[in-house]
């Protein structure tokens, strides 16, 4: 899967310096906003003059006062905890449930129209934006007592289902049916065959699904915003929205908070960069 043409495989060609320099310069458009965020987050409000240097020059001393203050104002640890909880539980349920559903549909699609129809039914859900379902879902979840974190997780599980089932059902083509038949001959039932044979064999796709699901969940604002509105449960991005008025014109405090909100996923990206990029690529290459 997508691992054949790695760096250097093109081989033999000279390094193109012009392109190299241009690409490096282009990186500045990515790095500049991040640099600015770090700089402003460390400064005192009194250091923010009205010219460019006011925002971009190094602070006179690097201290963490803004961060400590921001953590207090936005209730950072609780927001972080909520974000981790929502993302973690969603990813786990998605992997367990969607892989099974993808397997069930993928294996029987060619045999029975019903499975094929189910596949198209669920996958077509990809074209239903959350904004369309938002209002009825707010009513529905509050009526059945799910206007909370559990409800948000449930909605994520349903919302990511089309994409994930598409991925799992597609990946199934790489797993020879002979594996299952062999297990069946050995006397394993469907359930055992699935968890012992298929589930472990879908490992690369689990990684892809985990990455895609985790990133969408972690960065999502709209779902928790409308479903848990009125409660004081914040996710990390949601806290940035809800505490805007508290930041006021103290941009240093605000940027310290933004940086704190970006930090977890940045760390995650630095550690798992290969897996994340491969995840996205595999998801698309499929």
């Amino acid at each position: 899967m997508g691992k054949k043409n790695r760096e250097g495989a093109v081989g033999g060609k000279a390094v193109n310096n012009v392109i190299n320099v241009l690409l490096a310069l282009g990186c500045l458009t990515i790095l500049f906003p991040l640099y600015m965020t770090v700089i402003i987050a460390f400064k005192k409000p009194s250091e923010m003059t009205n010219d460019v240097a006011g925002a971009l020059a190094f602070p006179s001393n690097w201290n963490f006062d803004n961060f400590i203050e921001a953590m207090k104002v936005t209730d950072f640890w609780r927001s972080l905890g909520n974000s981790l909880l929502l993302t973690g539980v969603t990813v786990i349920i998605c992997i367990l449930l969607h892989s099974l559903a993808g397997y069930v549909i993928g294996r029987k699609m060619a045999r029975h129209k019903f499975f094929k129809a189910s596949y198209f039914y669920i996958v077509s859900g990809m074209f239903v934006p959350f904004a369309v379902l938002m209002m009825p879902l707010v009513k529905q979840t509050s009526q059945i007592g799910l206007a909370n974190r559990a409800g948000v997780i449930l909605l994520y599980v349903v919302f990511f289902m089309p994409m994930n089932i598409l991925l799992y059902a597609g990946y199934l083509k790489n797993i020879p049916i002979a594996l299952e038949e062999a297990a069946c001959v050995d006397g394993a039932n469907v359930w055992q065959t699935y968890w012992k044979i298929i589930f472990p064999n879908m490992k690369p796709m689990h990684a892809t699904v985990a990455v895609l699901t985790a990133m969408s969940t972690w960065n999502d604002v709209m779902t928790p915003l409308v479903i848990m509105s009125g409660s004081d449960v914040n996710t990390l991005p949601l806290a940035q929205l809800n505490f805007q008025s508290q930041f006021g014109t103290n941009y240093n405090l605000a940027f310290a908070s933004y940086l704190l909100a970006l930090l977890p996923i940045m760390i995650f990206y630095i550690i798992c960069q290969k897996q994340i990029i491969n995840g996205v690529v595999n998801g698309a290459v499929k």
């Binding site: 054949k4 990186c27 934006p129 379902l133 209002m135 349903v158 469907v190 709209m222 290459v285």
Partner: protein, 297 residues
Amino acid sequence: MGDKGKRDKAWTKNDKIFLGMLIPVLILFFCFNTLPLLKGFYYGLTNYRGYGDYDFVGLRNFADLFTDLRVGKSYLFTFKYAVVMTIAVNVISLILALGLNRQIRGKSALRGIYFVPNILGGLVVGYIFSFIFTYILPAVGEATGIGFLQNSMLASSKTAWIAIVIVGAWQGIAMNTIIYISGLQTVPEEVYEAGMIDGVSGWKKFWTLTFPLILPFFTINLVLCMKNALMVFDQIMSLTKGGPSQSTESISYLIYNNGMSGGQFGFQSANAFVFFLVIVIISFLQMKFLGGKEEQL
């Protein structure tokens, strides 16, 4: 795909077990995807304000959508945004991908950096760029004497949408570039070798050899980018809140703003349902048009 019915065999015990596992998933999906969609249509037929009693008003909401100025403006803005975004993002990311796929120094580091915007949340990125548009760019304009930079882009209803395109593109390019790179890697080296023997190079090489082969990736990117752009919400929330003078209200933002707290629950439900139909039609057209082109290869 003409495998209609012919392959349907009798239901074995194994089939039934699979069916038993599928049914709960289908029910779950129906309850939280299809049902709210149908309910949305139902609410669209009422004058519900989000609370209290309501009456049926027939298709009046749907008819009113077409004469409502604010709804019309939001559709115009959203389409303008989506089209400009899709073109800009795809052109830039294709160029970036071609560069990043070459034999270059620090390839993985560069790829790693270019992908960063994709992992960051749109809301916080919007807040950061909001500062750039409101303070940094005007300060740069002041220092260099470049007139059009001196006022914040976000303050004028003529330029605010461009600011949102810039932020959206900053994030969207990362994703599309990675997909184009993976597309370029599927092009076998022999194709280029064969092209070289035929004396094809440069621009012509790209159009006649590379592009047709990565057309499926072009399709994916076009559909994904357009879909994301049509649903733009986070950036609006953090950059403009729909302003100035409602010039940057996206459809999603209008549904959220007026439907959830503006007392237009019924009316915006109708809007949401029409929005859904629009998305389906656009996706269908894209796939029909682009899918048809692919088959000719």
